[in-house]
């Protein structure tokens, strides 16, 4: 791990710095919503905080982490230097500048439009420019990943691309497709609005373009966690990957089915009718399949490890697994949270049930659990796994790492379970202040406090995570850590079908699926223009 080492570390640290700040803001927000008086509690500050927290966790933590991890995978799995390191640094600095510009806009109070931007409400143009720079930087990363895989395939004709890299490039391809929606929205609608070039905006079209990005982006976040499931967890457990082919299949299924489903975020919207909502609902059911396949394949892989360690009987292999290793522990905890988060997702996807929970705290609880819980926990585990290779030091003990993972899981469950319940009780979202003098709302108070307690534990875990990583930087170099290695499949793979080694067919299918699922909804809005709404600008 040489040429990309510093680049990976730079990306990781921006991600985790944003994460730490956002965690503090998150706890303040929970405090502000509770019956207890929070300091500096005004609607102005609250929505500023929600915007900052959302942007940091959803755009900064995720994108920079994925870029850093991508560099690590590219160099480790392909055993060659990452192409275009200079471009990688340009991308990094562009994206970091974007974060700083956007943050300046947010913290000066000129961008309280939340991370989902709510046109016709308009923030300062710098907020949007900052985010465009982040996305542009990430596009450079995508190209690097594609070039790395293409170069390797040329140097190794007919060979299967190592699974970790195949999945990383699948994610890069997914990201390129995903960002088209929000890029179109920003370039053609929002930025002209923010610059004062137009005074009205077609809100329905805006929401539709954003929905294109909104679901696929969560799979962009999720795929690195699944890369860890397939290629790092079995290795950490001392076993083998049950099936390399199923892994590839799962990743291509994510690629094709995470995109044409964004309308399920608009189930309750009036700008689309039942027909296309049903079609995209149907496609959403299909995107559950790769997760269902993954759960089995990874369990089977762990079973191999457990039995190799002497586990007997139906469940003995579970006990025999090396739970003291952070990656193994994280996989188990992540799967546990995946039950709840995934189950919640199935409910959201069924529009009859979605009507009960749309825009209630259930939704907030769901995505904190599935992203903050299942996915980010694996981000921690990945960081712990690659940090020795990146810093050249070993962890003195795994105990602080495991404790941090436990705190995170317990904190997440304690925070989100009452939140799910309150959502079913009708507690609605994005409220700066609840009226606890209303008896109906007063009943919610104790549960909000329980959630707050969970949030505090999460903050402590977040800070511990950062300290754990810093501790490696501060240690004196000692015995060199073992090199990073990815899991090998139980049965060696010498060749795979071309469709599971490249993306041409899948790109074509994505194009067809998107044309079918989004063609009419977007095309119709462009042809039969809905009456536009007046732009509401920040700062008057």
């Amino acid at each position: 791990m040489n040429s990309a080492r510093r680049l990976a570390l730079a990306n990781f640290w921006v991600a985790f710095a944003a994460f730490g700040i956002a965690a503090v803001l998150g706890v303040w927000q929970m405090w502000a919503r509770s019956p207890w008086q929070a300091p500096l509690h005004t609607p102005s500050n609250y929505f500023l905080s929600v915007t900052a927290h959302g942007v940091s966790m959803a755009y900064v933590l995720s994108t920079f982490f994925i870029m850093g991890f991508g560099y690590v995978v590219a160099e480790t799995a392909l055993k060659r230097p990452v192409p275009g390191i200079r471009w990688g640094w340009i991308a990094f600095w562009m994206a970091t500048a974007g974060v700083l510009i956007a943050d300046l806009a947010i913290f000066s109070g000129n961008a309280s439009v939340l991370y989902t931007f709510y046109p016709p409400m308009t923030a300062s143009v710098w907020f949007y420019i900052g985010l465009v720079l982040v996305v542009a930087g990430s596009w450079i990363w995508c190209v690097q990943m594609l070039v790395a895989m293409a170069q390797w395939k040329r140097a190794n004709p007919g060979q299967p691309v190592p699974l970790a890299m195949f999945a990383t490039v699948a994610n890069a391809v997914l990201w390129l497709w995903t960002t088209v929606g929000v890029a179109a929205e920003l370039l053609f609608q929002i930025i002209p609005m923010a610059l004062g070039l137009v005074e009205t905006i077609d809100v329905g079209l805006s929401r539709t373009l954003f929905s294109w990005t909104l679901h696929a982006i969560v799979y962009f976040w999720l795929i690195p966690a699944y890369i860890a499931f397939y290629t790092m967890a079995p290795q950490a457990a001392g076993g083998r990957l049950f099936s390399d082919t199923m892994g590839r299949l799962s990743f291509v299924l994510f690629l094709i089915y995470s995109l044409p489903v964004g309308l399920h975020h608009l189930f309750m919207d009036p700008e689309h009718a039942a027909g296309f909502k049903f079609l995209q609902s149907f496609l959403t059911i299909l995107v559950t399949v790769p997760t269902l396949l993954t759960v089995f394949t990874i369990s089977a892989s762990m079973e191999i490890a457990g039995r190799m360690r002497g586990g007997k009987g139906w469940f003995g292999w579970i006990r025999a697994l090396p739970w003291e290793r952070p990656m193994v522990l994280a996989t188990g905890l992540s799967f546990f949270m995946l039950w709840f988060g995934g189950g919640g997702g199935l409910i959201n996807m069924s529009y009859g049930m979605n009507a009960m929970v749309h825009n209630t705290s259930w939704v907030t609880a769901h995505f904190h659990l599935i992203y903050g819980g299942t996915v980010v926990l694996m981000y921690f585990a990945i960081a712990y796994e690659v940090w020795p290779a990146l810093t050249g030091r070993r962890f003195a003990s795994n105990k602080p790492l495991r404790q941090q993972l436990w705190w995170w899981t317990i904190g997440m469950m304690v925070m989100t379970l009452p939140w799910h319940y309150l959502g079913l009780e009708g507690q609605w979202r994005r409220v700066a202040q609840f009226d606890y003098s209303d008896p109906h709302i007063a009943e919610w108070g104790p549960w909000v406090l329980v959630s707050l307690a969970g949030g505090v534990l999460l903050l402590l875990s977040a800070l511990r995570f950062i300290v754990n990583l810093l501790s490696l930087h501060w240690r004196a170099p000692g015995e060199a850590p073992p090199p990073l290695e990815f899991a090998r499949p139980a049965h060696e793979v010498t060749q795979v079908p071309a469709v599971l080694n490249g993306f041409s067919l899948w790109n074509l299918l994505v194009l067809i699926l998107m044309a079918a699922a989004y063609g009419f909804p977007i095309g119709h809005a462009l042809v039969e223009r809905a009456p536009a709404a007046i732009v509401h600008r920040m700062g008057g």
């Binding site: 009205t200 009507a355 749309h358 409220v431």
Partner: protein
């Protein structure tokens, strides 16, 4: 069953994949049943309306807001969602009868849910949102704005007063309002 050979792995994985396809089919069947037998649909009314001239429109003019029994006998509640109030702030609807709620916004995105029911819809400027439902229980139901619409979002609340059908008495013009009670 132990997976000794690659064929074993393929066989086991295929079985699992088929089982998962079965799960998918069950979910699909449930949604189809709900759609075809009890007509569960997401809000599905694509009707354009100009937010800039909403106050000049026939249907959403101030005097026509609230609950009215129309000439065709349909019970319709018309509500405007605006920063930071619902107009009117309270509507009366009968229990046990099919009712329709229609919403429009002259400014930004809002959203509503009626507490304790599955009435839930976004209100997007440029479109009329429409929900058909039948209330089962009587009482005062909270209807908050559930989508971020600005700094006053937290105070944007309305009440849906569900009364027993025999106490739902429209006046000569077909209107019922909370103040009458």
């Amino acid at each position: 069953m132990a997976a000794r050979t690659e064929q074993d792995v393929v066989r086991i994985e295929t079985r699992w994949a088929l089982a998962m396809c079965g799960v998918v089919l069950v979910i699909l069947a449930a949604i189809l049943y709900a759609s075809l037998r009890i007509h569960v649909n997401p809000p599905s009314n694509v009707e354009l309306i100009d937010p800039k001239t909403l106050h000049l429109s026939d249907e959403f003019t101030e005097a026509n807001l609230g609950t009215r029994v129309g000439p065709d006998g349909a019970i319709v509640a018309r509500i405007v969602a605006t920063q930071f109030e619902f107009v009117p702030r309270c509507v009366v609807l009968p229990a046990g009868r099919r009712v329709t709620l229609r919403f429009a916004s002259p400014d930004v995105i809002h959203g509503i849910l009626v507490s304790g029911t599955n009435v839930n819809t976004m209100v997007v400027p440029g479109y009329v949102s429409q929900v058909h439902t039948e209330f089962q229980k009587t009482g005062d139901l909270l209807m908050p704005c559930h989508e971020y619409c600005g700094l006053g979002h937290s105070q944007m609340l309305a009440t849906v007063r569900v009364v027993p059908a025999d106490r739902f008495k429209p006046d000569a013009d077909g209107r019922v309002s909370c103040e009458q009670r």
